[in-house]
């Protein structure tokens, strides 16, 4: 598939440069080392920092701003950032109250953020790290690297960011993030492969009637390759996998998300959301809030993921709290 790029090796830098120009009112992009911080530092609050490989836009830079992330550290395409930019961003956003790292569970991200955290601690900066692993496609066993962090990350960044804006301290924010990780699940489907700019090759080849079920957000192949099916069937497959795994009670409330993988138009995502909403209504689960759109992508992969996060009044309050970022905006 063709791309709007110049030099593939400059893709991340050039895209960020455009992002910086378009959103200079909300964010500042540091060119070297590369990281993104909100233009108006929250005073005295705990800083919330996330990051990871690029190619998942608007994650994470699009969520930097008031009420969400204080900093995002983007790596190369699908490659965790190195410790240096993480450390530099940590120094810039720390206001003495400490920094919370929200890290998606990939070996590269875990190891690089771990290293950065060690350096930061050595400099006397309080750092807590919470690992996000919401992807039910992966078996959570000692025989895997564990579950991946995928679309649920956005929900956690929004809720934790709101609590930080409210003034919660580092330990309670880490505790909140851990509770959220325990109550969010996602499952994804790819109907077309992404193409990594530097290779120009598709990450996997799919026949016209094939899809990858249980994919991550890096063009990894999925849990299995199955036949293309109607939107409702694909939705059911993904939703059932999430429901099976999500600890929940009937009559409970969720934030429901249908996420597009990058090349899937919004109109198709609403077809998926329609089915999911009907299904949830059928089993007595109330959708308290919803998010439908391409929020955590894999370059130009086509497909979707569904995410459910169980919530209570307190979490809904945090969800409705003002957020002012390039991607999510309400109440502000």
């Amino acid at each position: 598939m063709k791309k709007l790029v110049n030099d593939p090796r400059r893709f991340v830098a050039e895209s960020l440069a455009g992002f910086a120009r378009a959103h200079h009112d909300l964010v500042r992009v540091n060119a070297s080392p590369v990281y993104v911080v909100r233009s108006t530092p929250g005073n005295g609050k705990v800083a919330v920092l996330s990051g990871g490989g690029s190619g998942h836009e608007p994650l994470h830079a699009g969520y930097v701003g008031i009420g969400m992330l204080d900093a995002a550290v983007p790596g190369e395409i699908f490659t965790s950032p190195t410790p240096d930019p993480i450390l530099a961003a940590t120094r810039e956003v720390d206001q003495g109250a400490g920094v919370l790292y929200l890290v998606k569970n990939y070996t590269g991200d875990v190891l690089n953020f771990e290293t950065a955290a060690e350096f930061a601690a050595a400099e006397g900066i309080l750092v807590r790290t919470v690992i996000i692993d919401d992807d039910v496609a992966v078996l959570d066993s000692e025989f895997t690297a564990g579950r991946r962090g995928v679309a649920g990350t956005v929900l956690i960044e929004k809720l934790v960011g709101a609590a930080a804006e409210r003034g919660d301290d580092l330990d309670s924010l880490a505790g909140l993030a851990e509770r959220l990780v325990a109550s969010v699940r996602s499952m994804g489907v790819a109907i077309a492969s992404p193409t990594v700019p530097h290779s120009g090759r598709q990450s996997f080849e799919l026949a016209a009637d094939e899809i990858e079920f249980g994919i991550g957000i890096h063009g990894e192949r999925g849990r299995s390759r199955i036949g293309m099916a109607r939107a409702d069937e694909l939705t059911d497959l993904a939703l059932d996998a999430v429901l099976e795994d999500l600890p929940r009670l009937p009559g409970e409330r969720v934030i429901a998300m249908v996420n597009g993988m990058g090349a899937t138009p919004g109109a198709e995502l609403y077809v998926v959301y329609r089915r999911m909403a009907e299904r949830l209504q059928g089993i007595g689960v109330e959708i308290a809030r919803s998010l439908v759109g391409s929020y955590v992508t894999a370059l130009d992969m086509a497909g979707f993921s569904v995410t459910l996060l169980t919530v209570d009044d307190g979490l809904i309050e945090l969800w409705d709290a003002p957020v002012l970022t390039p991607t999510l905006r309400w109440g502000a």
Binding site: G53, G75, E76, I77, F78, T79, S80, P81, T82, P83, D84, Y106, T107, G108, L111, N112, E114, T115, A137, V138, L139, E142, F143, T144, A145, R148, V196, H198, S199, R201, S203, G216, H218, G219, E220, R221, R223
Partner: protein, 210 residues
Amino acid sequence: MILDSAWVVAWLTAAADAIAEQAPTLNELDREIGDGDHGENMNRGFEAVRAALGDGAGGSTPSEVLRAAAMKLISSIGGAAGPLYGTAFLRASDAVSGRDELGSRDVVELIDAALRGIEERGHAVPGDKTMVDAWSAAATAARAASESGGDAREVLQAAAGGAEQGAASTDALLPHKGRASYLGERAVGHRDPGAVSTAVILRAAAEAAA
């Protein structure tokens, strides 16, 4: 050639050349069971090392050059391989600190230390279908060569051969660490890219000593 700091520089330069040449292959291996960027990542890392050495960074002992390289790798590779190779070269640096020239036993210790560093950072063991399989096979072969009286150059040859066998052995393995583990059975029959890059790097070490 004697294994002094000049050898380490020659090794890292040869490794940078070999990685640059093998980058597409490494990307392709990673595309099959990972995310297709291992060659890209390693190439970025070793070009950074090459540039640093060009700027006269490094130092007068093998240990100092290895440490300088480790820092560059950590700050430029990223992903899983960055911290792992970074740790490997840091530990290797520690293992030979203070020496100006390395003998066969030093080489064995250098490789052993690198292996242990990777195992501690990544919590992988031999058989998990990772670079550890290449490093551990290299360490075993190096020790055997040294114990049977091989000189440093022969030990490096043995290590390179061991790493290559270790990499080949990953084909049949079920992955337990890294991205490949997401695929489970689907990854069997594919070779682990990190194990291959390890073999490339250790082969460069042997050639730089030849």
